[in-house]
Symmetry: D3
């Protein structure tokens, strides 16, 4: 898989841009030795994600910061508001890290919550919900973790860990068959090959050469059904193309193995989460 | 201002996580010397933002890549689809950089488009639309650039370039007055001080000590109107608290100088943008 | 504030350039398990500064190194020689880190001592002594900390955390008024604006537009007195221009709020400090 | 030699701490396409040093910046003020880089000027003026370059490129002889050994074992003369210990090869240098 | 694939450790403006590899350095000595970069030469020669490039881009079947699975569950032949276990697809290559 | 000495390239809380080297990993197989770090073993075995440590910590005498000078000017004997030129001080070492 930034690097970057030379307000108003306790409160129903990352933010500012977790990453909150965790540490560390911690928690919980809505929509079918590479720049590993928290599955991590032949590759290579053959000759024996097809004719060509997976792009449920029948378990089937929770059930009912959704990571709204300080 | 990651660093990070050891599909199917041309197509109405960043992505992969821009950052697209720019370069560079470039373009244009909706909603009032620190971790500078593209204005860049006293600072310091006084004693003569107030009584206390700006949090339009009258131009007035385009006009009509909106950067959906290859 | 190098980064840099691949002398002559104790001795009267940084140097080489501090940063030593602290740790760590620790201690104590001389010179007036951006490259944060130790105050940290309009900005912008207006339009509501004026006519122009502070450059005490009267508390007043401890009292007596002095950080001689090993 | 920070790294650090997120004043008041020309004016007699570094600062901000040099690094300016170079480039780049460039120029020229005073003081003797490791943290390579500009010579670059046995090494090793013997056994055949001696008895012990150089610390001219006679060309002789331009001639007349002076790099005042913009 | 260090990073590291603060010999003896020309001479028969890397070394020291290549990476040299390339550039750059360039060239050509010996040994069979993860720390990408130059193929780049279940994984998971099932459940649909088997019984178990490839470890040619028959094209077959050019033909004749050889990258002796300066 | 990469940096690099985004096999098959114990088994006679580095690899993955060492770095193993150490830690950490740890251990032990063979070959003479700069890029410090483990000695660390004048320096400088003189004028008083000579005439020229050491390149034992006599202890003598354990005794018998051997670090085969898991 590709060189995704580690969570600790993302946190360094986020603290650098938010705190910079220091939180002048907190340093001026809060004594250096004050201790604080705050609840992490989820204010609307959803799936929690990002608690580990949030704790790591506070620990960067106070190595002794601690978190008691009641509802860990992946837990669903139905009765809001709900205190999913309690964090203790230096008061300055809590206030200075609050925004960075919440920015992570809110984004990741938002992705997990949206993912869960898709997963629920296809419940009872064989289809799994899959993410894409449409993640926020620098946040791929965290965004993909959030998809797992919401019950989804992860597609390839980047351009370097599998072959996915798209329309432009096919156009330049001179067809689906030569594109697949070139890819097979170029990669090692442990690299899988998926090919995007827009029509059943292309699908037939791909199956003729042999591939590990097919990406069925922008097909109607009916066409998908015929595609799944043509594939007949010889390859993994993935459907994509602006699928939303309303259209997902029909897509899933067509029998595909996977439904990939860019919206999970590029447009999910945040989940409303805040810190409530005590005492 | 704080140590925001530079665009070039964000692009390094994004390419590292997306491309990693190499785009095996493109390397296998596209000749190294093939040249390509692609239109940057905005597929729904909105405000363009991120073209410079997108070009920088392609240039990282092909130093000779070029972009002809028709609708620069900040331009509004009303008739979609519209080709806002054309990019030329090595075909491999275009295909390998496409996802990273589009992830940036779509996110930033989404923020700019949402910002513009708020700006239009308060048109004709004295209120400006302001962003917050609720940006995606590592993307603060880019997210704030997108707010400017949409016609908004930027709040402070981070915790280190101005004082913004919030409720917890006040609580620990023992009141609004001592909190402001401590801050004034601690910072240099070129640092401004803003204080968050939840009630008119707090506002009066703040004005009594003297501050540069007041953050009027979660007040109704009627209360805001009274607050603005109390302030009487002695400080900048900023309203905040889950304001949406529907509620913004009434808030603005109350006479505040600034309306800050976290939604701009934490939950704006992407604008649909793609690359269309030619020939 | 700007992205000042953190103390830990400066220490990394300093140890890298001084120790490099290893202190061959110490490794050859001192057993790896020898422990040492040394007094930090200030050999002439002055103000101590840099003890924390010095301890951090030794801790980088021996994580268990400890320091007992008698006269902390900011303390004045009048009877020299005086042992202001005692450091214990691996003998090798002490000898290898000695030069780097003393380079920091001597420089910072030198700045603090020189600052104190200026502060004492204006004692009894309203004027505070202010540093400038004339710091050693890479050492801004440490140099500014030393000014605080000496009783001075800090000007802005860098070019990015406030507006300070100088003569060349005025010349290109076409006058003080347009320069201030452009700056005000460009920056956020929490950024202050200071303008440098060389004459009372310029001062009048600046006050007419309104600014947060005025830098009165190279004015005589008499002119400064008139300037302070013209400002009449509408802005903070700062005097600058090769002021030394002899001329400072007259400048301060003119009633300015601040006197900024480049000499503090660019030319203060070091304070003589050494390590005396025991036993 | 040790891992001294490269000039380009020092400049990165200095610009990061001075410019940070941007020079808000210059961006607001100076058009992006304005070009500027400025003279580098030395305002008091001295030795110029740092012009290359200053140009590199401007080039970091405007890759097309150029400098015409009349008096290069090492040149002496006797009739001040004198324009030693002219720099051309984007006006914004000049204004934004000015302070960083001048901080370097002024410090390095100050060191070169002070070095020259010592060099002149010992003119006509065999003694060369040598720097020490008492440089500003992070600036060793630049500070040592300035010493060369002033006509001095460089001592070892750091702890790793030669053996210099000092009093504490001798104390722990159990005498000068065992200290030298341990060092000789530990290092490679291309590493030289110098030993610090405080008395003629110690010198005799050192010469008995054989060393490449001796550091004669805090000796009177008369004692130095006897030491030089004892050495009789069997080792390089270096004198040290708070030597100033007044005492240097007598030290040099004692016949030592080298006089090392910490003051050159830790306490030399800056040389007054400014930028004068044209047109 | 994993985050292999880029060639440019390896070269930075190698130059940092070899050149450090500067090549004092070359700087003292070679004029700064001298130009040089040198032939890259292969002094014994073998396969050339690393010319691009060598040129990059020289370009780091002289951006205008150029190389005329007669026998590019992968070319076989049978009549030695042979000049495979000519490099031109600053004389100092050539001398200072020589050792680093040759260290790369000699190592990579050594690996390519050894690989070619194995490839030739199995010529005429279906077996390809494969590398392993037994590369020099930090040099994986370069070492694997050298294997390609010698006619071999690359195994997975690291632990993150495919599943390879070894004996200890099997032991802890409780058998080959549960190990494969756990892996399949954990990874995405584009990740292949290979399993190491030591016996035909284990092979049967693995084929029963279904895998993409089998690693047949330390089997005799006869056992390999039976294993290949059992697999019957249902999986890729890889043989390993201290195979040398003498034993390779019999292994290959058993019908395996791949033979992996750690020796290629961990013990191949260098190829003797030098620089011959002209004029 | 030059800026050799620290062991910790090499390990970071090696783990980054081998583990990347994660060891998917181990994560899928080994429980996160499983503990493991493994013996470090040397499978053929040789000298152990690299145990500290190996432990550091495991500690990077499990900070609580521990190693019991029976035969430390430098110990000779004559009865193989022999368990030289036992490592305990998280089972995942052991499996994920195994290859990186063994790559280091095997390489360094291979170098130490080969060095020992040379050292034994010259036993009873005054000659020491010396390494060269022909190390694997990035691994200089580790490779040189391995030479010490094998009983050899280290030459200079890089181009910056001593002068070694070679044939091309002599050619451009116009002779051995001017080359030495230029070097002496350029470097500090603590830098030694060695010169490579190919003939006795050159040796005479070098001795006439005076040098610290002479590199006698590619001379026969008889010529070396005459050279040593000519030198007569006025300089250190070093022999070089494709010397192997068979030819080394005659070279040593010629009376040289040092024999330098590139083969030690560029072509020593690895020592066969593995991990044997228990329980």
């Amino acid at each position: 898989m590709s060189a995704a930034a580690r969570t600790s690097d993302v946190i360094d970057l986020a603290l650098a841009e938010d705190v910079g030379a220091g939180d002048v307000t907190t340093e001026a108003t809060i004594p250096a030795d004050a201790r604080g306790v705050a609840g992490v409160v989820v204010r609307e129903p959803g799936v929690v994600c990002g608690l580990d990352a949030a704790l790591e933010v506070f620990r960067r500012l106070d190595p002794d910061a601690e978190m008691d977790v009641r509802s860990p990453d992946g837990a669903a909150v139905s009765d809001a508001p709900a205190t999913v965790a309690t964090v203790r540490g230096g008061y300055r560390a809590l206030l200075t890290g609050e925004r960075t911690a919440l920015n992570l928690l809110q984004r990741l919980s938002g992705i997990a919550t949206t993912t869960r809505a898709y997963v629920d929509a296809v419940d009872g079918t064989r289809a799994a919900i899959l993410d894409t590479r449409k993640t926020a720049p620098g946040l791929r590993a965290l965004d993909k973790h959030a998809v797992l928290c919401g019950g989804g599955r992860n597609h390839r991590a980047g351009l370097d860990d599998a072959v996915l032949i798209k329309d432009n590759h096919v156009a330049v290579a001179g067809g689906i068959k030569p594109a697949i053959e070139r890819a097979r000759a170029a990669v090692g024996h442990l690299v899988k090959i998926e090919v995007e097809v827009d029509t059943l004719a292309q699908l037939e060509e791909a199956l003729g050469v042999g591939v590990d997976a097919v990406l069925l792009d922008n097909m109607s449920p009916e066409t998908l059904r015929r595609a799944v029948a043509m594939v007949d378990r010889r390859a993994v089937t993935e459907a994509s193309g602006r699928i939303n929770p309303e259209t997902a059930p029909a897509i899933a009912a067509a029998g595909v193995d996977l439904i990939s959704v860019g919206w999970l990571t590029h447009s999910a709204p945040v989940l409303d989460i805040g810190l409530d300080y005590r005492g």
